[in-house]
Symmetry: C2
Subunit: 234 residues, 2 copies
C-alpha cells in the first residue's frame, strides 16, 4: 500500500495479516530463536544447509497449503511452543516473506499484524520516516493488510503525532476506521484472501489473526544480518 | 488501484482525475477529433510527423508544467474550443497517458473522471470483466483516482449490479463514500497531488475536475488503432 522506492535509512513495517506476519510473530512468541525469510522453496532448502548446525525447521506455503516435505506450513496455529521453542525457522511464503526480502535496504524491518499492533506503534512512534508495507496477495492490495496499516496510522495520530500522510496512508486509515469494530467479519466475509482461506479450511487462523494486541512480541530485522528476532526492550 | 495482468478482452477505465483524464474528456468535448496518448516527449514529436497532414497539436506536462515548445500543457482550462476544435492532439503526461498506453491489450479503453462519471457508468454497466485503472502519481495510489473508481463502483451497485469486488474495489468504494459530499475539499486539502497543483497555481483545475457529471462525453479507444475518440451512442 505504502511502498516507496528508496528504502535505505527507513524503518519499514511489513504487514501480511493473513498470514505470514501473524505466523512470524507467533513463532517468536512461542520461543523460536529466529525466523529467516527467503523467497523460494529451493532457497529455503539451501538455507537449511547453511544453518544445519542449528537444526532449523522449514516452514512455508504455496497456494495456502504447506510445501511438501516441510516441517510447518503457514498456519499460526501450527507454530506451537512444543514445535518451535528454541528452534530457528526458515520460511518461504507467497507474499509476506518476499516482501521482507525486498526490504533489505531498510535500516530496520519490523513485522506487524493485528495481534501485535499496539506494540509495533510503541516501537515506531518516534520514527520520522516510517514505511508501512502491505504485502498483499499476488501483487494486489489486501483489505486486511490495508486495515492493519490504517490501525498503525490511526494510533499514531491518537498519540498526538502529526505524520505527513501519503494518499495511501489516508486511504488505509479510512479503511481501518470503517472496519475497526468488525475486523473479524471483514476478514471472514469481505477480504478476498480471508474468504479463500476459509475455503481451504483455515477459518480458525482468521479468528486468531483478528485478536488485536494478543501479544507484545515484535519481530525485527536489524541489518546487517537477516534473521528476524524478537525485539528486546533496553 | 485495481490493476490486473491479463488485459486482453477486458474493458478498462483509465482514471487520472488530476488531470489527464479530465483534460482528454474536455478536449473531445470541445471538438477535438482525437487524442493520441504517448509515453515520451520524443514519441510525441515523432507522432506529430506521422500525423503531419492533420496538423495536430502537441500537449503534455512534466512535473505538472507544460513541456517547452508544446502547444498545450495539461490544464483542462487550456483545452478550449477555439484551440482544439477539429484538431487532433498528441499528448504525453507523467502518469495518465502512460497508463493508457499500458492498456493496449484491453478490448476497449475508456477514459473516466468525475466530470463524466455517470456517462462512463452507463457505458460500462453491463461489462462482465471491468477493470478500473487508477493512474496515480509516480507509481503511487492517488486519493482522487481511488475515489473516482469508487464512484463508478458505487453507482454500479446502486443500479442493482452485483459485481464481485476485489479488495481494491472494496477500498475504492469506501474512499468514495467517505468523500462523496466533499470531493472538492478532498482534492484541495487532502490529496497529495491536489495540494501540489495548488502550489503550482492550478487551483482552478481542481475546481473544474470536481464538477461531477458536467459532461456526457466519453473518450474511448477501440482496438485496432490507438486514437481516443468520442464514444458515439448507436
Amino acid at each position: 500500500m505504502i511502498v516507496q522506492q528508496g528504502l535505505a535509512g527507513q524503518v519499514a513495517v511489513m504487514i501480511d495479516v493473513l498470514r505470514a506476519s501473524t505466523v512470524i510473530i507467533t513463532a517468536l512468541s512461542n520461543g523460536s530463536k529466529w525466523v529467516y525469510p527467503v523467497r523460494t522453496r529451493n532457497q529455503a532448502i539451501q538455507a537449511k544447509e547453511q544453518f544445519i548446525s542449528e537444526n532449523p525447521l522449514l516452514a512455508g506455503e504455496r497456494l495456502g497449503v504447506k510445501i511438501p516435505g516441510f516441517d510447518l506450513g503457514n498456519s499460526p496455529l501450527e507454530f506451537v511452543r512444543e514445535k518451535v521453542n528454541n528452534r530457528g525457522i526458515i520460511m518461504t511464503t507467497t507474499n509476506g516473506t518476499a516482501a521482507i526480502v525486498q526490504l533489505r535496504k531498510a535500516r530496520r524491518v519490523v513485522v506487524g499484524s493485528f495481534i501485535n499492533v499496539s506494540a509495533v506503534v510503541e516501537l515506531v512512534k518516534n520514527t520520522e520516516d516510517l514505511l508501512l508495507v502491505c504485502a498483499g496477495t499476488k501483487q494486489k492490495v489486501a483489505l486486511e493488510d490495508t486495515a492493519c496499516a490504517g490501525a498503525i496510522i490511526d494510533r499514531l495520530l491518537s498519540l498526538g503525532k502529526s505524520p505527513i500522510l501519503t494518499d495511501s496512508a489516508t486511504i488505509a486509515r479510512l479503511v481501518y476506521l470503517h472496519y475497526k469494530d468488525n475486523l473479524l467479519a471483514m476478514m471472514r466475509e469481505v477480504s478476498e484472501h480471508g474468504r479463500r482461506l476459509i475455503q481451504l479450511g483455515f477459518e480458525k487462523d482468521i479468528e486468531y489473526a483478528a485478536r488485536v494486541d494478543s501479544t507484545t512480541v515484535i519481530p525485527v530485522v536489524e541489518t546487517p544480518g537477516y534473521l528476524l528476532k524478537k525485539f528486546k526492550r533496553h
